[in-house]
Symmetry: C2
Subunit: 538 residues, 2 copies
Amino acid sequence: MADSRKVGVLGGGQLGRMLIEAANRLNIQVNVLDAAASPAKQISAHEGHIEGSFKDAAAVKKLAQACDVVTVEIEHVDTHMLEEVAGEVAVEPSWKTLRTIKDKYAQKEYLKEHGVDVAESEDLEGKGVEGLKAVGERFGYPFMLKSKTEAYDGRGNFVVKTADDVDAAIKALGDRPLYAERWANFRMELAVMVVKTKDGVLTFPTVETVHEDSICKLTYAPPRNVSKATTERAQQLAKKAIGAFEGKGVFGHAPSPSTMPTSAPSSTSPSPSALRLREPSIMLNILGGKTPDSHIQVAHKAYASPNASIHLYGKGDARPGRKMGHITVTAPSLAEAEREIQPLVDFVDSQKGKPLGPRTGPTTEAPLVAVIMGSDSDLPVLKAGLQILEKLQVPFTVRITSAHRTPDWLREFSKKAADSELRVIIGAAGGAAHLPGMCASWTTLPVIGLPVKATHMDGWDSLVSMTQMPRGEPVATVGINNSTNAALLAVRILGATDLAVRERLRVWMEGNEKEVLRKDRELLDQGFEKYLKGMGKW
Amino acid sequence: MADSRKVGVLGGGQLGRMLIEAANRLNIQVNVLDAAASPAKQISAHEGHIEGSFKDAAAVKKLAQACDVVTVEIEHVDTHMLEEVAGEVAVEPSWKTLRTIKDKYAQKEYLKEHGVDVAESEDLEGKGVEGLKAVGERFGYPFMLKSKTEAYDGRGNFVVKTADDVDAAIKALGDRPLYAERWANFRMELAVMVVKTKDGVLTFPTVETVHEDSICKLTYAPPRNVSKATTERAQQLAKKAIGAFEGKGVFGHAPSPSTMPTSAPSSTSPSPSALRLREPSIMLNILGGKTPDSHIQVAHKAYASPNASIHLYGKGDARPGRKMGHITVTAPSLAEAEREIQPLVDFVDSQKGKPLGPRTGPTTEAPLVAVIMGSDSDLPVLKAGLQILEKLQVPFTVRITSAHRTPDWLREFSKKAADSELRVIIGAAGGAAHLPGMCASWTTLPVIGLPVKATHMDGWDSLVSMTQMPRGEPVATVGINNSTNAALLAVRILGATDLAVRERLRVWMEGNEKEVLRKDRELLDQGFEKYLKGMGKW
């Protein structure tokens, strides 16, 4: 036994199961309170488990007596019994935290008190139809009507679209403790896992979560088309929110905002100090479907996917919408992961009878190469290079930014470049061609200079403005007007680590070699006269 | 249940445990035949396990009756009972294969018959002292004396160094069935995991294994300083060897040669078609040590290692040398993984009382940048650049290869470059400077051209020989004699994907910025006269 202390967990669902998978590797005994053969218990064979409900006070007490520390996989537990046993056994996170977050309205008020920005909300308990109508006038429509407790995966929530919906809303949720939340117009949901230890608060990288029918369907790590500044802000917000609560543990927090203690997802490193994710990766939740084996079919389909890691939770009964497992695809780039997971997403959608129709996602592929030019007059010179990037399937973006006419925009672009997905910049300019050199001075990315032949000096001015950069800020200069080579250099730089890109380049080069060899044979066969005639040069 | 078929495994040690970890994720029931609470059983709670020995025929029969397919975690099993049950249940790999490989001499003969190169060996059963002496004369000393059966981790092996060792060898192993093997002078051991399915034979990437006291201590993925051609040859050899045997399964094969069916190491992708490893990574085996908790101490020390993944096997009694667990460190480069795992290796060595003394490994770091020059007269120009690479901790190699005096050597070097660890090439040349351009024509790697000022034309000749390459094969040209910028460009290219390198570059550039700002302040404070005097220019 690596550590003789025993951990007790209230709840043995999929989160408890993933917690135990990590604990097994460290040989730590985890005692689970839940029904017999619950998902977590299936992968943990010892006599210390307790059979019963994690909402049952006596069972919680029994568990606490057999453990050194007690935690939860879900917040819907008996916090009063946890309070009672907290004197004898460590309870993490604190029962106070669990009691606060069990009530979503209380949770929100608590976060607000601690300086965390949350959507505006109003207590509606006991206020009935009139209360709802008053909120509708104050917040405007639509607004969210939510149950304070026992709400998850969209259950206990109601979108009140107009005043006419109020009766239906009361009918749907009227027997619950309610509050209203102002409608938040959001572009996407970002989520951050937070770990609180005795030494401090640490965050995992920010991920993007995509919901369907109010249940998380896909998770993207890293988020699609989100700046590093935004992902860092999400981490800071999550850190502040979880920092406000008492107790240690792993917390799942989405700024939407719902807060729920949970175990680390299985794609994370099991090392407690390593808050990294295997990125880029995309996770697809496998839900119960129309037939009892719908979820098994999805798992079997994933066998064909070389980078897919399949997790099935060992839940018996596959009710529609029940979380039965997940599939994680990890690839060298998020775009590749998207390409690989798409057939699985399509399969899940076809199971639901959703028409595939025109593909909505992936919307855009993050560009790896930025092509910038001082003036749109450089664009015709760039044409051949842009076609090479397209041919070799390198995602790129083209922008106009002049070192002299838009120095601030060039500075802003260059300073932010290294924080984006960009890996190479091509700068085309003519004359006193400062563009790539200035860009290189503001970024750590490799900058390729394409000298464009301007009015005077036959391009020499542009060429030496790029090659003769001072020691410290190099510009990788190619031939005058040779945008093909600028693009191919970018491809080689990407190919230095991305072997798929390198292979496409190799095949392309091989094609060129064959083409020249073919011409040589033709010249030999025809003789130079006939060949020149064929060229129209005789 | 994802698949209602049940798998039976003979043996519930660490290999069985890792097999079950993978099976748990796919929700496949695995019935283990071994002692109660053996490592594999600890993470698999159901009623299907059999208590007993995997060498006991009755127990094997009982297991077979409760499963749809039977496999083994170790070859030292009762193959006669497996032969008997093979009619009623699938046995994979075949009992014939297991019977052959249980006897290492028979295994070797079998491989030889199937065209697989193995070390020369000779049967010594019943030949006594005289047989050994005869082999010593035929093979020369030293040679290996080996037990045909029940030999692993160096047990059952004896190095016969001289004719004087023969009596001691007979004393040590005389009661066993013996054979002799010609001494193999090997530089390193490479190992390949092989998967045989109904559709064919697949291999995992080749790894390097390092043994101490005849037990595997460290595993490097990829191997250190080994060409792609060699790792591929090892994969082909392993594929041929395992292809020669009947039956499906995951096989561990080291060309040393020992062949043993085993489960995939836990660092592999669980997807059955994805024969990839998480690379670069280094695995350190945790063995039982001097005190009962020596191995626990190693695991605790690894908590501080951000990229370490710890596996403890749940074995009760930690005898010295017993495999208790392993630690895998995965990092962006093998060199970083080496730096991170070294404190753990040092700790293990100190536990054993081994003096740390002068570090023997890591011997060399695979170069990421090759600096090539047409003549040693270019070396003084390169000095500043090489110092930059050293300062920013980029492993590099420097070679002399002239496009005109050693065209074949340049061609060979350039053609092989992309198959090595190299990611960037810097070519320095003067005059009709063909070196980087020819190199670029033979490789897909990015090539940086450093024009060196030669006798005439002030360097213009070198500069345009590089920039003006034809469309198709770009050379990333920097300023004349500016090796600093050539090196910094190589650093930027590596930093496009390696964020640690990028961060070192950022800090270095920040230092330069501060230095110029400091000078500006000094100039302002002193005035230009005094400043010029300080420079000795007034």
